[in-house]
């Protein structure tokens, strides 16, 4: 029964990893940008949520109404001012710029919030749970995270396949030059993609802040989990990213079942296994 429980908890944990990964997958798909600062943006969003909760006294979930648009706006400005000028030249410059951004964010947060680890309290939902059967109890918070992750991925899929914004994303991803001839300003399209990514980052940041302690140095680990979920799932496939998150989550909880020290290691090992056997991921869609 312990193993069934571990798998169930792992699936739910995968939802959080999928939230970490969805924004990463989205911007890589649209503009081939690998955002090294993605994890730090998640942590920055967590601090932003913390600050807003402290100032307004809102429930963390209600604070999302403020944090999500603020992060999206920040994402758009970041893309237009800092990242667009680095795109299209070579592969290295955007990588270096986002790496620099990562360092700046970590140190900026350190200066502003100290190195003390912080946490957001969401109240009763943190301890609420559902007994599915004897020996298997699912927490309300992990369940909510998983449901939100599925909703976010489904929402992104609808945006990509049904809306004119999604058409613009796909067209720009296919051929940015010709997309410009369709009266699409690719700088604006990239800005919107980053805004969407940062909006998802905001959701991920709030859940991160409620689920665990975080400090200014927490970002890189989140980036790694996000990357692993994207790669395991296969580039360019959003549902694959969710599957990748679940595979990673289950690997970690099963590893922890063997020995607590094995939790992270098991996740990384499964990642390497997938990379070795199927370098393009489990469900690749992009060439």
């Amino acid at each position: 029964m312990d193993w069934v429980n571990a798998i169930a908890q792992g699936i739910l944990l995968g939802g959080l990893y999928a939230l970490f990964a969805a924004g990463l997958s989205l911007i890589f798909g649209v503009m081939r940008l690998v955002n090294i600062a993605h994890g730090d943006l998640i942590v920055a969003a967590a601090y932003l949520a913390l600050t807003i909760v402290q100032i307004t006294g809102l429930h963390p979930f209600a604070a999302a109404i403020i944090v999500v648009p603020l992060m999206a706006l920040f994402g758009y400005i970041l893309q237009r001012l800092l990242l667009n000028p680095t795109l299209g030249k070579d592969f290295l410059s955007p990588l270096l710029v986002t790496f620099g951004l990562s360092v700046i964010l970590q140190n900026g947060l350190l200066a502003g919030f100290t190195a003390d680890s912080r946490r957001l309290s969401a109240g009763a939902i943190e301890t609420a749970s559902f007994d599915i059967m004897p020996g298997l109890t699912l927490g309300a918070l992990p369940l909510l995270m998983f449901v939100v992750a599925v909703a976010v991925i489904a929402g992104l899929e609808v945006i990509f396949s049904r809306t004119s914004l999604g058409r613009a994303f796909r067209a720009t991803s296919d051929d940015a030059e010709i997309a410009q001839l369709m009266a699409l300003d690719h700088h604006h399209v990239y800005g919107l993609a980053m805004a969407l990514s940062a909006g998802i980052v905001a959701i991920a940041g709030i859940f991160l802040a409620i689920r665990t302690n975080f400090d200014p140095a927490s970002g890189p680990a989140r980036l790694i989990f996000g990357f692993e979920a994207v790669i395991i799932g296969g580039l360019g496939n959003l549902w694959g990213t969710l599957a990748g998150g679940v595979v990673l989550g289950v690997s970690q909880t099963l590893g922890a079942q063997i020995s607590p020290g094995w939790q992270l290691l098991a996740g990384h090992l499964v990642f390497f296994l997938v990379l070795g056997l199927r370098p393009r991921g489990l469900f690749p869609r992009m060439d």
């Binding site: 004119s164 058409r167 613009a168 796909r170 067209a171 991803s173 296919d174 051929d175 030059e177 010709i178 997309a179 410009q180 001839l181 369709m182 009266a183 699409l184 300003d185 690719h186």
Partner: protein, 234 residues
């Protein structure tokens, strides 16, 4: 005399250190068809790319409806009513045929062209509208590329290598559609390997040689011998 739709004045353009066009000047009158001819590497594609903004030019070098548009971004030039059917079609591969057409109309310019109008011009596209654009034959892809350009209701449409790589029977179909397109009042520039075919449909021709205009005029008034000489630089 009325203002030409597009006028190029001493246009120099190129890629980085490589200059492909030198001092190119000519006008395109509203409602006219211009054949742009010249050997490989003469600068025909670069010229079209400079008009749509994909290659940088100085403002006064490209004037459209009397206004300088050289150096504007391609999306702004597209909004003003200039459309390109690019060499090699370059359809969006993750978009269906219909989505490729719809995205062409994204700029929202009013005019005669709509999905319905494009489907009645190229009925085969209606049957294949759910297919990915790149799953079609070369000729059908060219129809999608033309339809995509028409969807923006352009005033000026540029066809780059309109028949390159297509079967002769398909080329006939494409050319059969051109009169219906031109009849709507749109001006056209056609880049074509088959000089005879291009001159047959055009009101004017411009011949490029090594990035310079070597000859221009009325195809009916200029002898074939002179055109051949301008083409090959003999």
């Amino acid at each position: 005399m009325t203002e030409p739709l597009l006028s190029l004045r001493q246009l120099d353009a190129g890629y980085g250190d490589f200059q492909a066009l030198f001092n190119v000047s000519f006008d395109i009158a509203t409602g006219s068809v211009t054949a742009l001819i010249g050997a490989n590497g003469a600068g025909k594609s670069t010229l079209l790319r400079a008009i749509v903004g994909l290659v940088r030019a100085k403002p006064q070098m490209v004037r459209y409806c009397g206004e300088p548009i050289g150096g504007l971004s391609p999306d702004r030039i597209a909004r003003r009513g200039v459309a390109l059917v690019p060499e090699g079609r370059r359809l969006f591969r993750s978009l269906s045929v219909e989505e490729n057409l719809v995205i062409g109309g994204e700029c929202g310019r009013p005019g005669p062209w709509s999905l319905k109008a494009v489907y009645s011009l190229f009925p085969v596209l209606r049957e294949r509208r759910r297919n990915p654009g790149t799953a079609l034959s070369g000729g059908q892809q060219q129809m999608v590329a033309i339809g995509r350009a028409l969807m923006s209701n352009p005033e000026l449409i540029l066809f780059d290598e309109i028949s390159l790589g297509l079967a002769p029977v398909v080329i006939k179909d494409i050319y059969a559609a051109l009169p219906a397109i031109i009849a709507t009042g749109v001006s056209a520039v056609i880049v074509e390997q088959d000089v005879t075919r291009a001159l047959g449909i055009a009101h004017r021709f411009v011949c490029l040689q090594e990035g310079k205009v070597s000859l221009q005029g009325d195809p009916a008034a200029v002898g074939r011998h002179d055109i051949t000489a301008a083409y090959f630089g003999m």
